[in-house]
């Protein structure tokens, strides 16, 4: 949590190199500000372009790390593409052309970069941009396991055309072949320079296999899990056929299988020991299996599992078990919210309920397994119930900071009608 936040260039929605988008994300400002800043900086001896190219080289490209389901959906075009919208392209083009206009005015007034340097420099910059963008895409598509030969060819052709246009423009403007010869020699120098710049990088790219190795390990792990899953789907299907007459068994089997598949497709790779949410999900799954009542877990935020959070998860599990056993409902809602200072869990059912004044809650083990457990860890437990109105157990435990000290909890809003049962 205390490690430095690095700036990245997002691979999936960028116009040129992703530098502006990445910086904007990092600094928390709208991307158009960053683009304007680059353009304005360019008016001063081309600082903006230089900075842009440097950042392009220095900022790593970030590949989105998706769950298998989303990755596959993205590949098959089932999700919207993350490409830049038309509005953003037009906006950037507008900013860019205003910038170029001002730059040309500055050139015309003779206060800018020397004309003899300016032309070749411009050509070189565009060439560099095209080639780098292409290189980025090569790594990108390798990651995507996708060969895009035509895209490669068209980009290189576009780069060539750009350079040719620049050349023609300068020849016609300067008039005369001596300028063309100048330009040609400048181009040769630029290309040589490019080779020098890019050579080591290309070599490194071909050697840089760690990323690919990591990806391979990951996909192997996923393949193992997938194989296990398919096996359990087959088991479930066999069980379903055997239990076809028992509606609640069928529903429970189907739901368990659904949960496993969903976790694999869209979930995170978390284990029950990792975090409060994972522990609660595991508890919910267990209650579902044993008591055949669906438990829906909704979470906002998550915290790592320590002794306090383990106690909270166990108390919540007791509350779920109680609801499943006594409420007689077909659904239990669990909501967990953490804001860094405290963790709250609500376990709610719309079932039979009870009158807290007349029924000894000790009989259900509520006092020992829920209230006392939470209070030992500095938390509070609130139980609201009325006959026929369902039951809601609200648990709240402060989150300890890294030093083991409880973080002070500021007052939070509470709903009006809570009755605290001692």
């Amino acid at each position: 949590m205390t490690s430095y936040r690095r700036a990245y260039r997002p691979a999936e929605h960028r116009l040129v190199g992703g530098v502006a988008t990445g910086l904007a994300e990092h600094l928390g400002v709208p991307v158009v500000y960053v683009r304007v800043a680059f353009v304005v900086a360019t008016w001063f001896q081309g600082v903006g372009v230089l900075a842009y190219l440097l950042l392009w080289r220095l900022l790593p490209l970030r590949r989105p790390d998706l769950s298998p389901g989303l990755e596959s959906a993205t590949r098959r075009g089932l999700r919207g593409s993350g490409r830049a919208g038309a509005r953003e392209i037009v906006q950037t083009a507008a900013v860019g052309s205003v910038g170029i206009g001002v730059l040309l005015v500055i050139q015309a007034t003779g206060r800018g970069i020397d004309d003899h340097v300016f032309g070749p420099l411009l050509v070189a910059v565009i060439g560099v941009a095209v080639v780098w963008r292409q290189l980025d895409d090569v790594t990108w598509s390798r990651w995507m396991r996708d060969t895009s030969g035509w895209a490669f060819a068209s980009r290189v052709a576009a780069g060539g055309v750009l350079i040719a246009v620049a050349a023609v423009y300068f020849v016609s403007k300067e008039g005369g072949w001596s300028a063309a010869v100048n330009l040609a020699s400048a181009l040769v120098v630029a290309v040589l320079g490019l080779g020098l710049i890019l050579g080591p990088w290309i070599a490194r790219l071909t050697r840089d296999l760690t990323e690919e190795r990591r990806e391979r390990v990951r996909s192997q792990e996923r393949a193992d899990v997938a194989a296990h899953l398919h096996d359990s789907v087959l088991q479930t299907l066999a069980l379903l056929q055997k239990n076809a007459g028992d509606a609640s068994a069928v529903a429970t089997l189907a739901r368990r299988q659904e949960r496993e598949l969903r976790d694999w497709l869209y979930g995170n790779d978390e284990r029950p020991g990792d975090s409060l949410l994972a522990a609660l999900k595991a508890a919910a799954a267990e209650v579902e299996d044993v008591h055949r009542v669906p438990v829906e877990v909704i979470a906002v935020g998550d915290v790592p599992l320590d002794a306090d959070m383990t106690a909270l998860a166990r108390a919540a599990r007791e509350a779920m078990v109680n609801a499943a056993k006594h409420a007689g409902v077909d659904r239990i809602d669990v909501y967990v919210e953490t804001d860094g200072r405290s963790a709250e869990v609500f376990v709610r059912d719309r079932g039979a309920g009870f009158d807290p004044a007349t029924i000894a809650i000790d009989r259900m083990g509520v006092r020992a397994s829920i209230i006392a457990r939470v209070e030992r860890h500095g938390g509070t437990a609130t139980i609201r119930s009325a006959p026929g109105e369902g039951t809601e157990v609200a648990l709240r435990v402060p989150v300890r900071g890294p030093e083991g000290e409880p973080v002070p909890t500021p007052g939070t809003t509470r709903t009006a009608t809570e009755e605290v049962i001692p």
Binding site: P30, A73, R79, D339, R350
Partner: protein, 213 residues
């Protein structure tokens, strides 16, 4: 009262048949489609009141369907219906213009209720969607930023979202907070509007961060 005209857009034929069997009768199913192209053509042709829209679909997903139709046919309401629990996709489709999100294991009567609500111009927030919304807006609760009033949830809206996330139906939320159901609906619609209008950078960053987990 005339029946609501509903269209089902989903790439799984079995699912379309199932939903149709569940809702046909109380509402009129006027069209079905299985990808973005056919969905756009069908919706323009049949002009349904409510479109049940799958999030993941060939041709760019439900997002693309809304993008192409929302401005030209603002009277058509979209209700997202999906097995995908991917927060960024769900929030994405709501931000594009869908008026609600329910999961595919929703029961027939609940789905009909949701269709009614969406057709009436209200928003349908399942507990899961309420959780996503709270998560998405979580970063800004402490920070009082004067000029971003539109983007933050009010304390009341947050309370309503929390209760929905805790499994309360609109009716129960109203009872709990001593307000009318109409007021609950107003709060939920206002959250939906904030979600759709907000250009807040944190929303984008939140989506990006989630992708990095």
């Amino acid at each position: 009262m005339t029946k609501l005209r509903v269209a089902i857009v989903d790439d799984h034929a079995m699912f379309r048949t199932g939903v149709r069997a569940e809702i046909d009768g109380p509402v009129e199913v006027v069209g079905q489609a299985e990808d973005v192209e056919s969905a756009v053509a069908m919706i323009v042709e049949a002009a349904p009141d409510v479109v049940l829209l799958d999030v993941h679909m060939p041709g760019g997903g439900g997002l693309e369907v809304i993008r192409r139709l929302h401005l030209r046919h603002p009277e058509t309401k979209f209700l997202a219906l999906s097995v995908s629990d991917a927060a960024e996709d769900v929030i994405g489709i709501i931000r594009a213009g869908a008026r609600g999100y329910v999961t595919k294991n929703i029961s027939g009567p609940e789905l009909l209720d949701a269709i009614d609500r969406v057709a009436a111009g209200d928003a349908v927030f399942s507990p899961r969607l309420a959780g996503f919304v709270l998560d998405a807006f979580a970063g800004t609760i402490e920070v009082a930023q004067v000029d971003e009033d539109l983007d933050r949830l009010t304390e009341r809206e947050r309370e309503v979202m929390r209760l929905i996330a805790r499994g309360y139906a609109y009716k129960e939320v109203a009872k709990e907070l001593f307000i009318s159901i109409k007021t609950v609906e107003t709060h939920v619609s206002s959250v939906l509007r904030k979600l759709q209008l907000s250009s807040r950078h944190e929303l984008t960053r939140w989506a990006n961060d989630r992708r990095l987990i």
